[in-house]
Protein backbone atom coordinates (compact mmCIF):
# COMPACT_ATOMS: atom_id res chain seq x y z
CA UNK A 1 0.00 0.00 0.00
CA UNK A 2 1.17 3.50 -0.76
CA UNK A 3 -0.24 6.72 0.68
CA UNK A 4 -0.82 9.70 -1.54
CA UNK A 5 -2.88 12.86 -1.51
CA UNK A 6 -5.66 13.35 -4.03
CA UNK A 7 -7.62 16.60 -3.98
CA UNK A 8 -6.37 17.24 -0.49
CA UNK A 9 -7.45 13.85 0.81
CA UNK A 10 -5.09 11.19 2.08
CA UNK A 11 -5.69 8.10 -0.01
CA UNK A 12 -4.31 4.57 0.23
CA UNK A 13 -3.57 2.72 -2.97
CA UNK A 14 -2.81 -0.95 -3.44
CA UNK A 15 0.41 -2.15 -5.01
CA UNK A 16 0.45 -1.66 -8.76
CA UNK A 17 -2.55 0.61 -8.84
CA UNK A 18 -2.68 3.79 -10.86
CA UNK A 19 -3.65 7.22 -9.65
CA UNK A 20 -6.99 6.71 -11.39
CA UNK A 21 -7.55 3.44 -9.53
CA UNK A 22 -6.69 5.13 -6.27
CA UNK A 23 -9.01 8.04 -6.95
CA UNK A 24 -11.93 5.84 -7.99
CA UNK A 25 -11.40 3.63 -4.95
CA UNK A 26 -11.62 6.74 -2.81
CA UNK A 27 -14.82 7.79 -4.52
CA UNK A 28 -13.20 10.57 -6.52
CA UNK A 29 -14.62 10.60 -10.02
CA UNK A 30 -12.33 11.47 -12.93
CA UNK A 31 -13.74 11.78 -16.46
CA UNK A 32 -12.47 9.13 -18.85
CA UNK A 33 -13.48 7.52 -22.13
CA UNK A 34 -10.79 5.12 -23.25
CA UNK A 35 -10.03 3.62 -19.87
CA UNK A 36 -11.41 0.23 -18.93
CA UNK A 37 -10.35 -1.49 -15.72
CA UNK A 38 -9.80 -4.87 -17.37
CA UNK A 39 -7.79 -3.57 -20.32
CA UNK A 40 -4.33 -2.15 -20.69
CA UNK A 41 -4.15 1.59 -20.29
CA UNK A 42 -4.45 3.40 -23.61
CA UNK A 43 -4.16 7.07 -22.76
CA UNK A 44 -5.89 8.35 -25.87
CA UNK A 45 -8.89 10.31 -24.61
CA UNK A 46 -6.90 12.75 -22.44
CA UNK A 47 -9.86 13.37 -20.18
CA UNK A 48 -8.32 11.76 -17.12
CA UNK A 49 -5.38 14.14 -17.06
CA UNK A 50 -4.57 15.32 -13.56
CA UNK A 51 -2.11 17.76 -12.11
CA UNK A 52 0.73 16.25 -10.15
CA UNK A 53 2.85 18.34 -7.86
CA UNK A 54 6.30 18.74 -9.33
CA UNK A 55 5.25 17.98 -12.90
CA UNK A 56 4.96 20.75 -15.43
CA UNK A 57 2.23 19.33 -17.61
CA UNK A 58 -0.88 17.41 -16.62
CA UNK A 59 -0.50 13.63 -16.63
CA UNK A 60 -3.04 10.95 -17.60
CA UNK A 61 -4.06 9.33 -14.33
CA UNK A 62 -4.90 6.03 -16.05
CA UNK A 63 -1.26 5.41 -16.85
CA UNK A 64 0.35 6.97 -13.82
CA UNK A 65 1.46 4.58 -11.12
CA UNK A 66 0.43 5.77 -7.69
CA UNK A 67 3.56 6.59 -5.68
CA UNK A 68 4.04 7.37 -2.04
CA UNK A 69 3.80 11.02 -1.22
CA UNK A 70 2.32 12.02 -4.55
CA UNK A 71 0.13 15.10 -4.46
CA UNK A 72 -2.56 15.04 -7.12
CA UNK A 73 -5.28 17.44 -8.14
CA UNK A 74 -8.03 15.95 -10.27
CA UNK A 75 -10.19 19.00 -10.77
CA UNK A 76 -8.97 22.53 -11.39
CA UNK A 77 -10.05 25.36 -13.58
CA UNK A 78 -7.28 24.56 -16.04
CA UNK A 79 -8.10 20.88 -16.17
CA UNK A 80 -11.79 21.51 -16.60
CA UNK A 81 -11.09 23.94 -19.43
CA UNK A 82 -8.95 21.37 -21.22
CA UNK A 83 -11.49 18.60 -20.68
CA UNK A 84 -14.18 20.85 -22.01
CA UNK A 85 -12.11 21.67 -25.09
CA UNK A 86 -11.34 17.98 -25.71
CA UNK A 87 -15.03 17.10 -25.44
CA UNK A 88 -15.83 20.04 -27.70
CA UNK A 89 -13.45 18.61 -30.28
CA UNK A 90 -14.89 15.14 -29.89
CA UNK A 91 -18.45 16.37 -30.35
CA UNK A 92 -17.49 17.94 -33.68
CA UNK A 93 -16.72 14.39 -34.84
CA UNK A 94 -19.85 12.71 -33.47
CA UNK A 95 -23.47 12.86 -34.59
CA UNK A 96 -25.58 14.41 -31.85
CA UNK A 97 -28.59 12.22 -32.45
CA UNK A 98 -29.16 11.59 -28.78
CA UNK A 99 -32.90 11.99 -29.07
CA UNK A 100 -33.17 8.84 -31.15
CA UNK A 101 -29.95 7.08 -30.19
CA UNK A 102 -30.13 3.57 -28.74
CA UNK A 103 -27.31 4.37 -26.37
CA UNK A 104 -28.88 7.48 -24.91
CA UNK A 105 -28.78 7.23 -21.17
CA UNK A 106 -25.87 4.81 -21.20
CA UNK A 107 -23.48 6.74 -23.45
CA UNK A 108 -20.36 8.03 -21.74
CA UNK A 109 -19.91 10.83 -24.24
CA UNK A 110 -23.45 12.00 -23.70
CA UNK A 111 -22.93 11.95 -19.95
CA UNK A 112 -19.80 14.08 -20.10
CA UNK A 113 -21.34 16.48 -22.60
CA UNK A 114 -24.17 16.90 -20.13
CA UNK A 115 -21.80 17.39 -17.22
CA UNK A 116 -19.86 20.02 -19.10
CA UNK A 117 -22.96 21.66 -20.47
CA UNK A 118 -22.04 21.13 -24.11
CA UNK A 119 -25.10 20.88 -26.28
CA UNK A 120 -23.08 20.94 -29.48
CA UNK A 121 -19.57 21.53 -30.71
CA UNK A 122 -18.22 25.02 -31.28
CA UNK A 123 -16.19 23.61 -34.14
CA UNK A 124 -17.08 22.86 -37.69
CA UNK A 125 -18.88 19.52 -37.87
CA UNK A 126 -16.93 16.93 -39.80
CA UNK A 127 -17.19 13.17 -39.45
CA UNK A 128 -14.69 11.17 -41.38
CA UNK A 129 -16.14 7.74 -40.75
CA UNK A 130 -19.15 6.88 -42.86
CA UNK A 131 -19.36 3.11 -42.72
CA UNK A 132 -22.40 1.33 -41.39
CA UNK A 133 -21.81 -2.39 -41.26
CA UNK A 134 -24.38 -4.96 -40.22
CA UNK A 135 -23.74 -7.99 -42.36
CA UNK A 136 -24.23 -10.19 -39.35
CA UNK A 137 -27.04 -11.21 -37.05
CA UNK A 138 -25.28 -10.17 -33.87
CA UNK A 139 -24.12 -6.58 -33.84
CA UNK A 140 -24.17 -3.38 -35.82
CA UNK A 141 -21.05 -1.31 -36.36
CA UNK A 142 -21.96 2.30 -36.98
CA UNK A 143 -18.62 3.96 -37.40
CA UNK A 144 -19.75 7.55 -37.23
CA UNK A 145 -20.50 7.10 -33.54
CA UNK A 146 -17.04 5.72 -32.89
CA UNK A 147 -14.73 7.86 -30.77
CA UNK A 148 -11.70 5.62 -31.37
CA UNK A 149 -11.24 4.78 -27.71
CA UNK A 150 -10.10 1.34 -28.98
CA UNK A 151 -11.69 -0.47 -26.08
CA UNK A 152 -13.17 -2.89 -28.62
CA UNK A 153 -9.80 -3.49 -30.24
CA UNK A 154 -8.18 -4.08 -26.90
CA UNK A 155 -10.86 -6.41 -25.56
CA UNK A 156 -10.69 -8.41 -28.78
CA UNK A 157 -6.94 -8.80 -28.55
CA UNK A 158 -6.25 -8.85 -24.82
CA UNK A 159 -9.21 -10.74 -23.43
CA UNK A 160 -10.79 -12.73 -26.22
CA UNK A 161 -7.56 -13.36 -28.09
CA UNK A 162 -9.31 -13.16 -31.45
CA UNK A 163 -7.71 -9.96 -32.78
CA UNK A 164 -10.45 -9.67 -35.35
CA UNK A 165 -10.32 -5.90 -35.52
CA UNK A 166 -7.67 -3.22 -35.45
CA UNK A 167 -7.46 0.48 -36.03
CA UNK A 168 -6.80 1.12 -39.71
CA UNK A 169 -5.51 4.26 -41.42
CA UNK A 170 -4.38 7.00 -39.10
CA UNK A 171 -5.06 10.48 -37.86
CA UNK A 172 -8.44 11.91 -38.69
CA UNK A 173 -9.06 9.09 -41.18
CA UNK A 174 -8.53 6.35 -38.62
CA UNK A 175 -11.30 3.89 -37.93
CA UNK A 176 -11.72 0.50 -36.34
CA UNK A 177 -11.58 -1.95 -39.20
CA UNK A 178 -11.73 -5.58 -40.01
CA UNK A 179 -8.95 -6.79 -42.31
CA UNK A 180 -9.66 -5.43 -45.77
CA UNK A 181 -12.99 -4.21 -44.43
CA UNK A 182 -14.42 -7.71 -44.77
CA UNK A 183 -17.63 -8.61 -42.95
CA UNK A 184 -16.97 -9.77 -39.40
CA UNK A 185 -18.10 -13.25 -40.29
CA UNK A 186 -15.02 -13.63 -42.50
CA UNK A 187 -12.67 -12.70 -39.65
CA UNK A 188 -11.69 -14.60 -36.51
CA UNK A 189 -14.51 -12.75 -34.74
CA UNK A 190 -16.35 -15.06 -32.35
CA UNK A 191 -19.29 -12.69 -31.98
CA UNK A 192 -18.79 -12.69 -28.24
CA UNK A 193 -19.99 -9.10 -28.20
CA UNK A 194 -17.51 -8.03 -25.57
CA UNK A 195 -16.69 -5.14 -27.89
CA UNK A 196 -20.32 -4.10 -27.64
CA UNK A 197 -20.08 -4.42 -23.89
CA UNK A 198 -17.11 -2.08 -23.56
CA UNK A 199 -18.15 0.42 -26.26
CA UNK A 200 -18.89 3.74 -24.56
CA UNK A 201 -21.06 5.04 -27.40
CA UNK A 202 -23.53 3.75 -29.96
CA UNK A 203 -20.84 2.63 -32.37
CA UNK A 204 -21.46 -0.99 -31.48
CA UNK A 205 -24.99 -2.08 -30.73
CA UNK A 206 -26.62 -5.53 -30.71
CA UNK A 207 -28.82 -5.97 -33.75
CA UNK A 208 -31.62 -7.30 -31.59
CA UNK A 209 -31.91 -4.32 -29.34
CA UNK A 210 -32.50 -1.74 -32.05
CA UNK A 211 -35.89 -0.20 -31.60
CA UNK A 212 -36.63 -2.24 -28.49
CA UNK A 213 -36.51 0.60 -26.00
CA UNK A 214 -34.33 3.18 -24.35
CA UNK A 215 -32.10 2.63 -21.36
CA UNK A 216 -34.67 3.92 -18.94
CA UNK A 217 -37.35 1.58 -20.31
CA UNK A 218 -35.38 -1.51 -19.38
CA UNK A 219 -35.55 -3.77 -16.36
CA UNK A 220 -32.26 -5.42 -15.44
CA UNK A 221 -31.96 -8.78 -13.75
CA UNK A 222 -28.74 -10.45 -12.67
CA UNK A 223 -28.66 -14.16 -13.14
CA UNK A 224 -26.40 -16.92 -14.44
CA UNK A 225 -25.87 -17.94 -18.06
CA UNK A 226 -27.62 -21.26 -18.81
CA UNK A 227 -24.97 -22.76 -21.07
CA UNK A 228 -21.52 -24.17 -20.21
CA UNK A 229 -20.12 -24.84 -16.77
CA UNK A 230 -18.24 -21.58 -16.42
CA UNK A 231 -21.22 -20.06 -14.69
CA UNK A 232 -20.93 -16.55 -16.02
CA UNK A 233 -22.95 -13.90 -14.31
CA UNK A 234 -25.20 -12.15 -16.82
CA UNK A 235 -27.42 -9.13 -16.58
CA UNK A 236 -30.55 -9.49 -18.68
CA UNK A 237 -32.25 -6.32 -19.79
CA UNK A 238 -35.93 -6.86 -20.46
CA UNK A 239 -38.84 -4.73 -21.44
CA UNK A 240 -42.27 -6.11 -20.71
CA UNK A 241 -40.76 -9.55 -20.10
CA UNK A 242 -39.09 -9.58 -23.51
CA UNK A 243 -35.31 -9.85 -23.62
CA UNK A 244 -33.71 -6.74 -25.10
CA UNK A 245 -30.05 -7.40 -24.47
CA UNK A 246 -27.65 -9.31 -22.27
CA UNK A 247 -24.45 -8.02 -20.74
CA UNK A 248 -21.86 -8.94 -18.17
CA UNK A 249 -21.73 -7.03 -14.92
CA UNK A 250 -18.59 -8.03 -13.04
CA UNK A 251 -19.43 -11.44 -11.62
CA UNK A 252 -16.80 -13.55 -9.85
CA UNK A 253 -16.33 -16.21 -12.53
CA UNK A 254 -16.28 -14.06 -15.65
CA UNK A 255 -15.94 -10.44 -14.68
CA UNK A 256 -17.99 -8.56 -17.22
CA UNK A 257 -17.09 -10.67 -20.21
CA UNK A 258 -19.28 -13.22 -21.93
CA UNK A 259 -19.24 -15.45 -24.97
CA UNK A 260 -21.55 -15.41 -27.94
CA UNK A 261 -23.97 -17.94 -26.46
CA UNK A 262 -24.41 -16.09 -23.21
CA UNK A 263 -24.85 -12.72 -24.86
CA UNK A 264 -26.74 -13.58 -28.03
CA UNK A 265 -28.12 -17.02 -27.28
CA UNK A 266 -31.12 -16.44 -25.01
CA UNK A 267 -33.60 -16.14 -27.85
CA UNK A 268 -34.96 -19.59 -26.98
CA UNK A 269 -36.59 -18.25 -23.82
CA UNK A 270 -39.43 -16.51 -25.59
CA UNK A 271 -39.50 -18.86 -28.57
CA UNK A 272 -42.98 -19.90 -29.80
CA UNK A 273 -41.90 -23.56 -29.62
CA UNK A 274 -41.80 -23.41 -25.82
CA UNK A 275 -44.06 -25.97 -24.17
CA UNK A 276 -47.06 -24.26 -22.60
CA UNK A 277 -49.19 -27.15 -21.32
CA UNK A 278 -48.64 -30.81 -20.41
CA UNK A 279 -48.68 -33.20 -23.35
CA UNK A 280 -49.75 -36.79 -23.74
CA UNK A 281 -48.57 -38.89 -26.63
CA UNK A 282 -51.30 -39.41 -29.17
CA UNK A 283 -51.41 -43.21 -28.95
CA UNK A 284 -51.76 -43.05 -25.18
CA UNK A 285 -54.31 -40.26 -25.34
CA UNK A 286 -56.27 -42.29 -27.85
CA UNK A 287 -56.21 -45.40 -25.71
CA UNK A 288 -57.31 -43.34 -22.72
CA UNK A 289 -60.17 -41.97 -24.74
CA UNK A 290 -58.91 -38.42 -24.52
CA UNK A 291 -59.00 -38.04 -28.30
CA UNK A 292 -60.90 -39.66 -31.11
CA UNK A 293 -58.28 -39.60 -33.84
CA UNK A 294 -56.08 -42.69 -34.04
CA UNK A 295 -52.34 -42.17 -33.61
CA UNK A 296 -50.46 -41.11 -36.76
CA UNK A 297 -47.80 -43.21 -38.38
CA UNK A 298 -45.29 -40.48 -37.65
CA UNK A 299 -45.11 -41.71 -34.06
CA UNK A 300 -43.17 -44.69 -35.23
CA UNK A 301 -40.56 -42.68 -37.11
CA UNK A 302 -37.32 -41.58 -35.58
CA UNK A 303 -37.43 -38.08 -34.15
CA UNK A 304 -33.92 -37.43 -35.48
CA UNK A 305 -33.63 -35.45 -38.62
CA UNK A 306 -37.14 -34.10 -38.70
CA UNK A 307 -39.23 -31.73 -36.70
CA UNK A 308 -42.85 -32.70 -36.06
CA UNK A 309 -45.67 -30.35 -36.82
CA UNK A 310 -47.39 -28.84 -33.80
CA UNK A 311 -49.61 -31.42 -32.17
CA UNK A 312 -48.49 -34.16 -34.53
CA UNK A 313 -47.18 -36.50 -31.84
CA UNK A 314 -48.85 -35.23 -28.66
CA UNK A 315 -52.00 -33.55 -27.44
CA UNK A 316 -52.23 -30.93 -24.74
CA UNK A 317 -54.00 -31.82 -21.50
CA UNK A 318 -54.62 -30.25 -18.12
CA UNK A 319 -52.02 -30.51 -15.40
CA UNK A 320 -54.32 -32.60 -13.20
CA UNK A 321 -54.78 -35.23 -15.89
CA UNK A 322 -51.08 -35.35 -16.67
CA UNK A 323 -49.91 -35.48 -13.07
CA UNK A 324 -52.38 -38.20 -12.12
CA UNK A 325 -51.47 -40.19 -15.15
CA UNK A 326 -47.78 -39.98 -14.25
CA UNK A 327 -48.47 -40.99 -10.67
CA UNK A 328 -50.76 -43.85 -11.68
CA UNK A 329 -48.42 -45.34 -14.25
CA UNK A 330 -45.28 -45.05 -12.18
CA UNK A 331 -47.01 -46.46 -9.13
CA UNK A 332 -48.22 -49.37 -11.22
CA UNK A 333 -44.75 -50.20 -12.48
CA UNK A 334 -43.23 -49.99 -9.01
CA UNK A 335 -45.98 -52.13 -7.51
CA UNK A 336 -45.63 -54.75 -10.22
CA UNK A 337 -41.88 -54.92 -10.70
CA UNK A 338 -40.41 -53.20 -7.66
CA UNK A 339 -38.73 -49.84 -7.41
CA UNK A 340 -35.64 -50.94 -9.39
CA UNK A 341 -37.75 -51.18 -12.55
CA UNK A 342 -37.74 -47.42 -12.51
CA UNK A 343 -34.91 -45.08 -13.44
CA UNK A 344 -34.66 -41.34 -13.21
CA UNK A 345 -32.33 -39.02 -15.03
CA UNK A 346 -31.65 -35.63 -13.52
CA UNK A 347 -30.52 -32.61 -15.43
CA UNK A 348 -27.31 -30.69 -15.73
CA UNK A 349 -29.39 -27.78 -17.01
CA UNK A 350 -31.73 -27.59 -14.03
CA UNK A 351 -31.03 -25.96 -10.71
CA UNK A 352 -29.57 -27.53 -7.60
CA UNK A 353 -32.99 -27.34 -6.01
CA UNK A 354 -34.59 -29.13 -8.97
CA UNK A 355 -32.02 -31.88 -8.85
CA UNK A 356 -32.22 -32.22 -5.11
CA UNK A 357 -35.99 -32.66 -5.30
CA UNK A 358 -35.55 -35.06 -8.22
CA UNK A 359 -33.30 -37.45 -6.36
CA UNK A 360 -35.49 -37.09 -3.29
CA UNK A 361 -38.41 -38.23 -5.42
CA UNK A 362 -36.51 -41.19 -6.81
CA UNK A 363 -34.95 -42.32 -3.53
CA UNK A 364 -37.62 -41.30 -1.08
CA UNK A 365 -40.85 -42.07 -2.92
CA UNK A 366 -39.95 -44.70 -5.47
CA UNK A 367 -37.26 -46.23 -3.30
CA UNK A 368 -34.46 -46.87 -5.76
CA UNK A 369 -30.99 -45.49 -6.29
CA UNK A 370 -31.46 -45.66 -10.05
CA UNK A 371 -30.79 -41.99 -10.48
CA UNK A 372 -28.07 -40.50 -12.59
CA UNK A 373 -27.17 -37.44 -14.50
CA UNK A 374 -25.79 -36.71 -17.90
CA UNK A 375 -22.51 -35.92 -16.12
CA UNK A 376 -21.09 -39.03 -17.67
CA UNK A 377 -21.84 -38.03 -21.22
Amino acid sequence: MVALTIDGRKVEAGAGSTVLDAALAAGIEIPRLCHHPELTAWGGCRLCLVEVEGQQAPVPSCGLAAAAGMVVITHSEQLEAHRREVLDLLLSDHPLNCVICEKAGACDLQRYAYEFGLSESSHEKEIARKLYQDENAFLVRDHQYCILCTRCVRVCEEIVGASAIEVAQRGFEAFVATPFDAPLVETPCTFCGNCVQVCPTAALVPVDRIGKGREWDLTRTRTVCPYCGTGCGIEVATRGGEIVSVSGYGAPANGEFLCTKGRFGLGFVGHPDRLRRPLIRRDLAYSLGLIDTPPPAALGRSPLGRSPAAGETHVEVDWEIALDLVADRLAAVVKESGPDAFAGIGSALCTNEDNYIFQKLVRGVIGTNNVDLCARV
Binding site: P95, C101, V140, T187, I210
Partner: protein, 181 residues
Protein backbone atom coordinates in the same frame (compact mmCIF):
# COMPACT_ATOMS: atom_id res chain seq x y z
CA UNK B 1 -27.88 4.83 -37.56
CA UNK B 2 -28.78 2.43 -34.79
CA UNK B 3 -32.04 3.84 -33.61
CA UNK B 4 -35.69 3.06 -33.46
CA UNK B 5 -36.25 5.51 -36.30
CA UNK B 6 -34.39 3.36 -38.77
CA UNK B 7 -34.89 0.25 -36.73
CA UNK B 8 -36.09 -2.13 -39.39
CA UNK B 9 -32.75 -3.82 -39.79
CA UNK B 10 -33.38 -6.78 -42.03
CA UNK B 11 -31.92 -10.02 -40.80
CA UNK B 12 -28.88 -10.65 -42.97
CA UNK B 13 -28.99 -13.61 -45.27
CA UNK B 14 -27.87 -16.96 -43.95
CA UNK B 15 -24.15 -17.44 -43.79
CA UNK B 16 -22.63 -19.65 -46.38
CA UNK B 17 -19.53 -21.66 -45.71
CA UNK B 18 -16.79 -19.87 -47.58
CA UNK B 19 -14.24 -22.63 -47.59
CA UNK B 20 -10.56 -21.96 -47.13
CA UNK B 21 -9.53 -19.20 -49.55
CA UNK B 22 -5.89 -20.12 -48.98
CA UNK B 23 -6.19 -23.83 -49.58
CA UNK B 24 -3.31 -23.70 -52.06
CA UNK B 25 0.17 -23.19 -50.61
CA UNK B 26 1.71 -19.73 -51.09
CA UNK B 27 3.55 -19.09 -54.38
CA UNK B 28 7.28 -19.87 -54.13
CA UNK B 29 8.52 -16.27 -54.31
CA UNK B 30 6.23 -15.34 -51.42
CA UNK B 31 7.11 -18.42 -49.45
CA UNK B 32 10.77 -17.51 -49.81
CA UNK B 33 10.09 -14.13 -48.23
CA UNK B 34 7.99 -15.59 -45.43
CA UNK B 35 10.47 -18.36 -44.64
CA UNK B 36 13.14 -15.78 -43.92
CA UNK B 37 11.08 -14.30 -41.14
CA UNK B 38 9.50 -17.23 -39.36
CA UNK B 39 9.63 -17.12 -35.60
CA UNK B 40 10.95 -13.57 -35.22
CA UNK B 41 9.20 -10.81 -33.34
CA UNK B 42 10.51 -7.82 -35.23
CA UNK B 43 9.60 -8.67 -38.79
CA UNK B 44 6.07 -7.51 -39.45
CA UNK B 45 6.90 -4.24 -41.18
CA UNK B 46 9.89 -5.79 -42.91
CA UNK B 47 7.77 -8.60 -44.32
CA UNK B 48 5.28 -6.13 -45.73
CA UNK B 49 8.12 -4.13 -47.24
CA UNK B 50 9.57 -7.19 -48.90
CA UNK B 51 6.20 -8.29 -50.22
CA UNK B 52 5.72 -4.82 -51.65
CA UNK B 53 9.20 -4.91 -53.12
CA UNK B 54 8.30 -8.22 -54.75
CA UNK B 55 4.96 -7.22 -56.25
CA UNK B 56 5.07 -3.46 -56.27
CA UNK B 57 2.14 -3.41 -53.88
CA UNK B 58 0.55 -5.59 -51.22
CA UNK B 59 -1.75 -8.12 -52.89
CA UNK B 60 -4.48 -9.05 -50.42
CA UNK B 61 -3.79 -12.76 -50.75
CA UNK B 62 -0.13 -12.26 -49.93
CA UNK B 63 -1.02 -10.45 -46.75
CA UNK B 64 -3.41 -13.23 -45.85
CA UNK B 65 -0.69 -15.81 -46.46
CA UNK B 66 1.72 -13.82 -44.31
CA UNK B 67 -0.83 -13.80 -41.53
CA UNK B 68 -1.33 -17.54 -41.69
CA UNK B 69 2.27 -18.57 -42.17
CA UNK B 70 3.75 -16.23 -39.57
CA UNK B 71 0.92 -16.51 -37.07
CA UNK B 72 0.30 -12.78 -37.03
CA UNK B 73 -3.34 -11.70 -36.75
CA UNK B 74 -4.52 -10.46 -40.13
CA UNK B 75 -6.15 -7.46 -38.49
CA UNK B 76 -2.80 -6.36 -37.17
CA UNK B 77 -1.17 -6.70 -40.58
CA UNK B 78 -3.98 -4.67 -42.08
CA UNK B 79 -3.81 -2.04 -39.36
CA UNK B 80 -0.06 -1.70 -39.79
CA UNK B 81 -0.20 -1.68 -43.57
CA UNK B 82 -2.75 1.12 -43.59
CA UNK B 83 -0.88 3.10 -40.95
CA UNK B 84 2.28 3.68 -42.93
CA UNK B 85 2.38 5.80 -46.07
CA UNK B 86 4.65 3.37 -47.81
CA UNK B 87 2.16 0.57 -48.32
CA UNK B 88 -0.43 0.26 -51.01
CA UNK B 89 -2.97 -2.38 -51.89
CA UNK B 90 -3.23 -1.54 -55.60
CA UNK B 91 -0.52 -1.86 -58.25
CA UNK B 92 1.32 1.40 -58.87
CA UNK B 93 2.21 2.87 -62.22
CA UNK B 94 5.49 1.88 -63.84
CA UNK B 95 6.95 5.26 -62.96
CA UNK B 96 6.26 6.64 -59.52
CA UNK B 97 6.45 10.39 -59.32
CA UNK B 98 6.95 11.85 -55.90
CA UNK B 99 6.83 15.58 -55.49
CA UNK B 100 8.65 16.58 -52.34
CA UNK B 101 6.53 18.90 -50.21
CA UNK B 102 9.04 19.47 -47.46
CA UNK B 103 9.34 22.93 -45.98
CA UNK B 104 12.05 24.15 -48.30
CA UNK B 105 10.25 22.72 -51.32
CA UNK B 106 6.95 24.15 -50.15
CA UNK B 107 8.31 27.67 -49.83
CA UNK B 108 10.22 27.06 -53.04
CA UNK B 109 7.04 26.41 -55.01
CA UNK B 110 6.23 22.71 -54.70
CA UNK B 111 2.44 23.32 -54.61
CA UNK B 112 2.59 24.81 -58.12
CA UNK B 113 4.54 21.78 -59.33
CA UNK B 114 1.93 19.43 -57.93
CA UNK B 115 -0.83 21.39 -59.61
CA UNK B 116 0.98 21.39 -62.94
CA UNK B 117 1.60 17.65 -62.83
CA UNK B 118 -1.97 16.93 -61.83
CA UNK B 119 -3.18 18.98 -64.77
CA UNK B 120 -0.68 17.43 -67.15
CA UNK B 121 -1.38 13.84 -66.15
CA UNK B 122 -5.05 14.47 -65.46
CA UNK B 123 -5.02 12.50 -62.24
CA UNK B 124 -5.32 13.35 -58.58
CA UNK B 125 -2.74 12.62 -55.94
CA UNK B 126 -2.20 8.93 -55.17
CA UNK B 127 -3.75 7.98 -58.48
CA UNK B 128 -2.32 6.17 -61.46
CA UNK B 129 -2.76 7.27 -65.06
CA UNK B 130 -5.14 5.08 -67.07
CA UNK B 131 -2.26 3.84 -69.21
CA UNK B 132 -0.59 2.56 -66.04
CA UNK B 133 2.58 4.58 -66.57
CA UNK B 134 2.56 7.23 -63.86
CA UNK B 135 1.52 7.28 -60.24
CA UNK B 136 1.59 10.71 -58.65
CA UNK B 137 2.31 11.16 -54.96
CA UNK B 138 3.40 13.91 -52.67
CA UNK B 139 5.88 13.19 -49.91
CA UNK B 140 7.03 15.20 -46.97
CA UNK B 141 10.72 15.82 -47.44
CA UNK B 142 13.18 13.54 -49.10
CA UNK B 143 16.08 15.27 -47.41
CA UNK B 144 17.26 17.29 -50.40
CA UNK B 145 16.10 20.59 -49.02
CA UNK B 146 19.14 22.47 -50.20
CA UNK B 147 18.12 21.64 -53.78
CA UNK B 148 14.46 22.46 -53.31
CA UNK B 149 12.08 21.96 -54.96
CA UNK B 150 12.68 18.27 -55.68
CA UNK B 151 10.81 15.73 -57.76
CA UNK B 152 11.62 12.04 -57.51
CA UNK B 153 10.92 9.83 -60.49
CA UNK B 154 11.40 6.08 -60.05
CA UNK B 155 13.74 6.73 -57.16
CA UNK B 156 15.94 9.30 -58.91
CA UNK B 157 15.90 12.78 -57.44
CA UNK B 158 15.67 15.84 -59.65
CA UNK B 159 16.53 19.07 -57.84
CA UNK B 160 15.78 22.74 -58.40
CA UNK B 161 12.55 21.95 -60.15
CA UNK B 162 10.04 24.33 -61.64
CA UNK B 163 6.51 23.56 -62.85
CA UNK B 164 7.72 23.71 -66.42
CA UNK B 165 10.78 21.62 -65.69
CA UNK B 166 8.70 18.99 -63.95
CA UNK B 167 6.31 18.82 -66.86
CA UNK B 168 9.05 18.33 -69.41
CA UNK B 169 10.69 15.73 -67.16
CA UNK B 170 7.43 13.80 -67.09
CA UNK B 171 7.01 14.26 -70.84
CA UNK B 172 10.46 12.81 -71.48
CA UNK B 173 9.93 9.90 -69.11
CA UNK B 174 6.54 9.18 -70.62
CA UNK B 175 7.91 9.21 -74.14
CA UNK B 176 10.70 6.84 -73.16
CA UNK B 177 8.26 4.53 -71.41
CA UNK B 178 5.77 4.39 -74.26
CA UNK B 179 8.34 2.93 -76.57
CA UNK B 180 8.63 -0.11 -74.31
CA UNK B 181 6.53 -3.24 -74.60
Amino acid sequence: MPSAASGTTARPRKTVYLGDPLAEPPPPELLAILERHRGRGDVLVTVLQQIQAQYGYLPERSVRYASRELGIPLARLYGVATFYNQFRFTPPGRIQLQVCCGTACHVGGAPAIVERLKAHLQIAENQTTPDGIFTLQTVFCVGCCSLAPVVIASGAAHGRMTPGGAESLVRDLGAAEEGRP
